[in-house]
Symmetry: C2
Subunit: 194 residues, 2 copies
């Protein structure tokens, strides 16, 4: 990995672990093994480097979601595949956790990729649910946009609850609960938890 | 308000706005108007003061939830009252946002009130859903524990999405989606969104 790449990856890790406020240029240099001169050769400063790191985390989030959304199966199965995709629940979401960082939220450039990512994710999931409604797989009464927002919120809130409890089980339980609720909207007799 | 009280309230505000890592003893003194000597007379230091502040925010969260849970109406109406209770969506949850603070999570004393609060909240909501299932208001197939976890996650994730979008509307939409999903589990013909 070249120095620029090491700087971006180290910043991504530190943002995930410590947040923006808790990530100093010094810590980035220590983690990446890059000197101060090298860091400022590649990036204008912490915001510029953070933007590259956030943009890459956002891109990964989209790619992984898209892989689940375009997997095989019914709409319900693809939504379940997305919700159940393996995640490091106790580490939190590398993108969502940044919404709790006041300095990130106050900077329009840094907030933009976060806003775009969740808008894309919710819209993509709403489109999938609408597809299921059109095909008759899901009830006509299901509101795709509101349901999609609720499902994305379950994931983001699942991280919060898992961290609060110190247990990834809680994240899995939130997902189970959401899929149980969604199952009721399938037009076939819903598969109910045993 | 006496000095001790002003110190606690100022710390609560700062934790809500800036998080634990972003809140310095100096900022607490400036906000509260208390001197350094006075602060250390009342509290041993930032962790001690933060514990008092977090415990009070947790207590308020419980009191408000309990008020909604014991309001009049069916189980579905009381759950809806809780989910729709007015919140400062763009400020985030004063308790939940602390799960993103690595220094809070690393300190068992500071994490304890956060863990207890969400365990209580999820358990209380699960009890309410179980009550609705026993009375026949909700379908027998509804899993109270998983559903309760999903609903609390929707609120916590709703804050994340609202902050990402810079819009409290997104929070309301997540709640609408969750209530739409829950409505399907009511034994009467579910009230579907128009």
């Amino acid at each position: 990995m070249d120095t620029r790449e090491r700087l971006i990856e180290s910043t991504r890790e530190l943002l995930w672990e410590r947040g923006y406020v808790g990530t100093s240029p010094k810590a980035i240099q220590a983690r990446s093994g890059a000197g101060q001169g090298s860091m400022y050769h590649h990036f204008h400063g912490k915001p510029d480097l953070a933007l590259a790191a956030i943009s890459r985390s956002a891109e990964e989030l989209r790619d992984r979601a898209e892989a689940a959304f375009t997997s095989s199966g019914t709409v319900s199965e693809r939504v379940a595949a997305y919700l159940r995709r393996e995640r490091e629940a106790l580490k939190g979401c590398p993108v969502g956790r940044l919404t709790q960082d006041p300095d990130v939220m106050a900077d329009p450039d840094l907030r933009a990729p976060i806003e775009e990512t969740f808008a894309w994710l919710t819209g993509r999931l709403a489109g999938l649910l609408a597809e299921g409604r059109t095909s008759g797989e899901l009830h006509a009464g299901l509101d795709p946009a509101a349901t999609a927002t609720a499902l994305v919120a379950v994931l983001q809130g699942g991280y919060v609850l898992a961290r609060a409890a110190g247990s990834a089980e809680v994240y899995a339980q939130a997902v189970d609960g959401a899929l149980g609720l969604l199952a009721c909207h399938a037009r076939q007799e819903p598969s109910r938890p045993a």
